[in-house]
Assembly symmetry: C2
């Protein structure tokens, strides 16, 4: 029997202290959607004028809540907004019933909070293909609305977990025109219970004032180098959702501000890396740095080919500096590579160069390096100026236990 | 300690009885390239006029022997030909030394057998990045040449194994213009010892007379629906090689003959499926049939996305009819899909249709079906006439043991 509640060895020591974001209040409840004895619903209500940007899974079979969010992003930002999230049921592949559930939930939230339905965003994560028992959630909405508090972000991080082994939060602060702007975010991913699917949900809040177009531009751009650069097992969820909400309560206008974008990038990257650190069965956190590629896009293709290779990932699990498998992954990726220009390092150890093992390479030295929990694999293609960094974890018996052995 | 010599539960009961192919003779030897106490070199010599067609890995980091074979395929077919294969060392990512090894080996084979160097094809499979000790192979060439026999094809199948758990052979016979034409083939794949890589080597021989252009055309076309439709772990070798040799000794001209092409297809498909049945850690053989796709190419993209999904493969290992993961894989594949037109069956059991679970679906019935060793997952996209079938195996603790735990 798999013990999937054991906390990841790569987890941070504790949940970080997140700054209060003026303009957003949270509440959580135990609705019993699927799990018993724990919170499984989060409601966030955002003050009038909050802009909301988002990025979503590109899956062709994406869930009803994702489709609904996508339709609403970019609309008017005048009134208040709300986000309702449940864990335990993803409302994915539930046919027309799924759309009805979303419509019923958003109407109920609107009725109770006074937020217009076109500003109510919902997410669901958990089992797939089962009708969402939305009545259980609706039964909690009055209490949720009464309990809203600016302090409850950590509780919110817990309520959105499925089989995550730890709650994920990150924050940053930056000065803009003499005012302090705060950013706080929470994320879930990527635990699993058969027949669930790993999903990633991310909610980031800031008291900066950012116009929606500018916020969406930043979020879309930063997603490409943060959440779209992580992989646990190459399998893409039907529910992945990232929402970034700018309440404007700080009074500082951060539209197009470089320092704000940098701070937002830090929070997104931190949360993305925490998702990898909670990868199923993970015992190693691996950064793959690709440089010298023909283009940035090529570099990312190579990076993800390495990060998704079962042979590379099992070698890392076995603490084996198996650079041959890295060569293999580069070769199969489909992006440009020249065997004789390639160099590969594990940490500071130059392993391979000019189409062969480096004369300076010591396997004993590499074996010591591979025992570390956090590893860096650096690949230089020797072709151009393209670069990309991606993050992954190893592939262990724990992954098989969680995904094959769990259902008895 | 992983026991990687245990025979796959999916192995055939015994090596098949292969017909003798007039015009080709085999010999094997124990050269001690890496393994001790077993044969590791195979020499095949083919009579004058034999045409040779081949397909090879598309890896950008392919091995020196592969590059050499590719340069020679399609040349003149007048004189005799030879194939030299060693296991234990893949001569991949060995820089310029690798090319020197190939040149030295082909020259030595030429000197001893009288075959012109541009008709000597070599393959190497095994450890990557280590110089091939080609002198050990050359030391065996006189004996090999003296021992050549038309009967030794099964011995050849054994000599090319690395950590395969069984030797792979297949054959077919067909009447052409009143003459019996025979086809016999052998293959290896896909065992592994760190830091080895899985490689697939396939050699098929026929006494049909087929001009090289026609043979190459058949082989290239059939590869797309046989060897290019199997996957164990999505990782592509630097050494994959398929050579098909037509000696013409039967006197029957099979150039462009449909029955011959069909027979060749049977042999290729049989060998391809045997490679999957020896997939690392495999306990289930899975056929994935995709129909109703927008195009054949789209169908294959969907099929391989399902076949390569770690979540689908672990669910199969756990005997879990987890159709939600199949939906997920289709959604992420990038090829066209419409959630509401999709239907999915496991064997004869209709699991999902019209964007949701089928009303007739019984999970108990599916659970019984999933206990079978050979499984069929059928997906209909409901979009067009495109179809493709691919084959894979499950992902088990055995895979992790072989690839992570082996190196202590």
């Amino acid at each position: 029997m798999a013990n999937i509640t054991k906390i990841s060895p790569l987890a941070p020591a504790h949940f970080p202290q997140l700054p209060v974001i003026a303009g957003v209040r949270f509440a959580t409840a135990a609705a019993g959607v699927k799990y018993q004895g724990r919170t499984d619903v989060m409601l966030a209500v955002l003050d009038s004028g909050t802009t909301v940007a988002g990025t979503f899974t590109r899956s062709a079979t994406r869930s009803a809540p994702v489709l609904d969010c996508q339709a609403k992003i970019g609309g008017a930002s005048d009134g208040p907004a709300a986000i309702l999230v449940n864990s335990g049921n993803s409302n994915a592949f539930t046919g027309h019933y799924g759309q009805t559930s979303v419509a019923t939930l958003t109407q109920s939230v609107s009725d109770i909070t006074g937020v217009s339905t076109d500003r109510v965003f919902t997410s669901s994560t958990g089992v797939i293909g089962e009708p969402l028992p939305h009545d259980r959630i609706i039964a909690q909405l009055e209490d949720l609305n009464g309990a809203l508090s600016t302090e409850s972000v950590e509780a919110a991080a817990h309520a959105i977990m499925t089989t995550d082994t730890f709650a994920k939060g990150a924050s940053a602060q930056v000065e803009i025109n003499g005012k302090t702007v705060s950013i706080a975010g929470i994320a879930k991913g990527s635990g699993m219970i058969a027949p669930d699917m790993a999903t990633m949900l991310v909610y980031i809040f800031t008291d900066a004032k950012v116009d929606q177009t500018s916020l969406q531009q930043s979020v879309s751009g930063l997603t490409d180098t943060t959440f779209n650069c992580i992989t646990v097992d190459s399998d893409t969820s039907t529910s992945d959702t990232l929402l970034v909400c700018a309440t404007g309560a700080s009074g500082a206008d951060a539209s197009g501000n470089a320092a704000f974008t940098q701070a937002l990038n830090e929070v997104m990257l931190d949360l993305a890396q925490q998702v990898v650190r909670d990868g199923e069965g993970a015992t190693k956190f691996v950064e793959i740095r690709v440089t010298g590629a023909a283009s940035d896009a090529d570099a990312k293709v190579h990076g993800l080919a390495i990060a998704n290779s079962p042979l590379v990932k099992t070698a890392i699990a076995g603490e084996d500096a198996n650079w041959g498998r890295v060569v293999m992954a580069i070769g199969k990726s489909g992006a440009a590579a020249d065997r004789d220009l390639l160099s590969i390092s594990f940490g500071d150890i130059l392993v391979a160069e000019k189409g062969w093992v480096s004369p300076s390479y010591s396997e004993d030295e590499a074996a010591v390096y591979m025992k570390a929990q956090d590893l860096v694999i650096a690949v230089d293609l020797g072709l151009g100026a393209g670069s990309s960094t991606v993050w992954t974890c190893d592939l262990t018996h724990g992954y098989i236990e969680i995904n094959a052995d769990y259902r008895s």
